[in-house]
Symmetry: C2
Subunit: 430 residues, 2 copies
């Protein structure tokens, strides 16, 4: 600290980074009162230091060498907003080596190499804060890690990817197919040119791993999370869902099961239209948390956007600044427990299946007998259309995933079944 | 601290207190890992120490002398769950005098004598935590105080009283009058024998004052909050509201206006059925927060109940325990600013007014001309029924509260107006 000011070294200055610089400057006095000292961005590493940027910093603050920022003796706190695995991971470890706490928004890195980073932060007794990694500006990490210390959470279920929620909302409102809405979202800048991180569920899976790690106090990585994207969801599925009283959402679900195992999955699912998550529209995010004592909690807000995410980063920077001055640190890694991961085949869930069948006597009985043989019990069935275009929809009672998949394989093999069009999980209390 | 254990002195052992004792015992190992030491309830002050209680404590831990608990040299942290102004206030000040941090759930005390208590806590450099004072188990104080440091919030709007939300939900679902549903709620134990703290909005006003103080960094007391209860809301109002696309809720609204004044009010209001708060049913609570950077956030959950509220108390105890060991304290009073309170007469709002009128030519023109004279512009008007029982409903555009009240006085004086039956504020973006 120089002259009552703690100095932040910023790695990356995109939408979030630039908003962090602006917020720290704009609210400098209020922040100083809370932090106990001034907090300023001293140096910024960017790919192109000569590019003009809308931030209140002299051009001399910019460099293209992130290592120089981390190693700068005037930098007290490192704020990593580059994203991706490398060089972000090495830069964070280098910051710890130099005794500097870190604030990051890097979900991919935390969900992949979280253990290594938290071990390093614990070994050095340095803060590693990451509120912005999940849910943008929605306070999630701090409430889960600190406010709910007295609870043993049972389930975390969220809409944690704004792009896919925007696409599903448009598909539902306008009855348009996935590809068309995706193209529009790309044109509007809501979706990336390469949309796979969002639409295939990679982004949601990383966030699911982070939420599960904190909620259940055990290290869960992105590779532990079962993952399906939304490219297979059709306007027909959404219309059927609505008719049956459901909405279709890309859900991240993490549960504590069998006492000490974790089940984590990301996939499109039908949820009851009355569930609070069903009302989460457009690019909004929400995380629904359940525990035996606290009951049901939901945290809702804008899950992305530079300004919203920057408020989370600034909140972390102020906490880290307070801790530095007190010579202490905040709550470190809380992944105390070793917990196994339950394989998806052992999931008990409800399913929606839509198929195109030949419209002749005995078809329903043939299909029902396959379900019965696999011990999958049917909750409801609809038939629509006639002749070549007859469609059958089943919703099952809770069944073992493995048994359901076996039934689907059997059904696909039946002669009158022209096509198994869609399968969606149904998240509801039976 | 004795032998690696921090000891809590509990004042009050009702539903919340007993749940705190149980949670600390049940999750002792997890809590010790987060707190860095064991946290145990050492002594408990209750009215009747001989009463049997379902808590894992020896009978020797109980006393009827709260001062003895505060003064006990073995007590490191005081947890005040007695409620009310006195002796709670004096006991908290006594704790500070003895160098002990305090955790409290006492909304009434904080909303009345907050300044005195926070000044004492700041002067001594001791923690005063109060997550449980608003929203039961919903993390609100910590997110507002710490996560949103980088934001300048514009508005906080919440459903913060579970009893009145339960009553309004039942009235809406079943079309029954207030008195009948209240009696049922009392029989079920959801409402107190003396329901005035809830139904007259006192409880909500105290919570509104606390939320406003934190959101806008200025001291707001319960007496600064305009207050109306729900006793005047009728099933007819709720039915009209629904027909017009609104729900009726008891809202606590705090806003930063004119740059640096605060407006805070608690009253029943019509909100659009599509607003996230409209879906908050039964005894649930939710707080909706808006700021220029973070956009819209909502925190939702059970706003009361011993177990849920106890999770918030335990979260605070763990934070205070960590701070004690680090020889530091958390964020203290954040009411840095002196801000005036805008009087209710200067409010700009929309209004719903239902009146019973004589059904003859010229009545509508007479009423409309009163509105016009007072510069209150009409958004929509309905007439229903004929003859003696003709009812007129107006919804206004945004108007100054004072002007609207002047119009109402004028309308009451018109001969063909038999009765102004209901007036409700409408909270919506125009």
């Amino acid at each position: 600290m120089i002259g009552g000011t703690l100095r932040v070294g910023l790695l990356g200055c995109g939408n979030v980074g630039a908003a962090v610089v602006r917020l720290l400057a704009e609210h400098a006095d209020d922040i100083a009162r809370r932090a106990g000292c001034r907090v300023e961005v001293a140096r910024v590493a960017v790919r192109d230091p000569r590019r003009a940027r809308d931030v209140p910093l002299p051009s001399s603050a910019f460099t293209d060498d992130p290592t120089a920022v981390v190693e700068d003796p005037d930098v007290d706190i490192v704020c990593e907003l580059i994203g991706g695995l490398e060089p972000a991971g090495s830069l964070i470890l280098a910051a710890f080596d130099r005794g500097k706490p870190v604030v990051t928004a890097n979900k991919e890195l935390l969900a992949t190499r979280g253990r290594e980073l938290f071990d390093a932060s614990d070994a050095k007794g340095l803060d590693l804060y990451f509120e912005a990694a999940v849910g943008g500006g929605i306070p999630l990490i701090r409430p889960l890690k600190e406010s709910l210390t007295g609870e043993r959470l049972r389930r975390v279920m969220g809409i944690v990817n704004g792009t896919t929620n925007f696409i599903l909302t448009r598909m539902a409102d306008e009855g348009r197919p996935f590809e068309e809405v995706l193209a529009e979202a790309q044109a509007l800048g809501y979706a990336e040119a390469d949309p796979s991180a969002d639409v295939d569920g990679h982004d949601a899976a990383a966030k699911c791993a982070i939420l599960a790690s904190i909620a259940f106090n055990a290290r869960v990585t992105a590779s532990d999370v079962y993952r399906e994207g939304i490219a297979g969801v059709t306007p027909e599925d959404i219309a059927f869902a609505r008719r049956l009283g459901y909405a279709v959402k890309l859900l991240a679900v993490a549960e504590l099961v069998d006492g000490d195992r974790i089940a984590a999955r990301v996939h499109p699912a039908m949820i009851p239209a009355t569930h609070p998550l069903a009302a989460v529209r457009d690019a909004f995010n929400a995380v629904f948390v359940e525990g035996p004592h606290v009951g049901e909690l939901m945290f809702y807000g804008r899950g992305a956007g530079g300004d919203a995410t920057a408020t989370a980063v600034v909140g972390d920077l102020v906490s880290v600044a307070r801790n530095l001055q007190a010579g202490t640190r905040g709550v470190g890694c809380t992944c105390f427990h070793e917990r196994g991961v339950r394989p998806m085949s052992e999931l008990d869930g409800q399913y929606y299946i839509l198929m195109r069948v030949e419209d002749r006597p005995g078809v329903l009985a043939e299909i029902a007998s396959v379900f019965g043989r696999c011990r999958v019990s049917i909750k409801s069935v609809w038939q629509e259309g006639i002749g070549e275009d007859a469609r059958l929809v089943f919703i099952t009672h809770r069944a073992r995933e493995g048994a359901f998949q076996e039934a689907v394989a059997g059904i696909r093999g039946l002669a009158p079944v022209r096509e198994v069009r869609s399968i969606l999980r149904v998240e509801a209390e039976e």
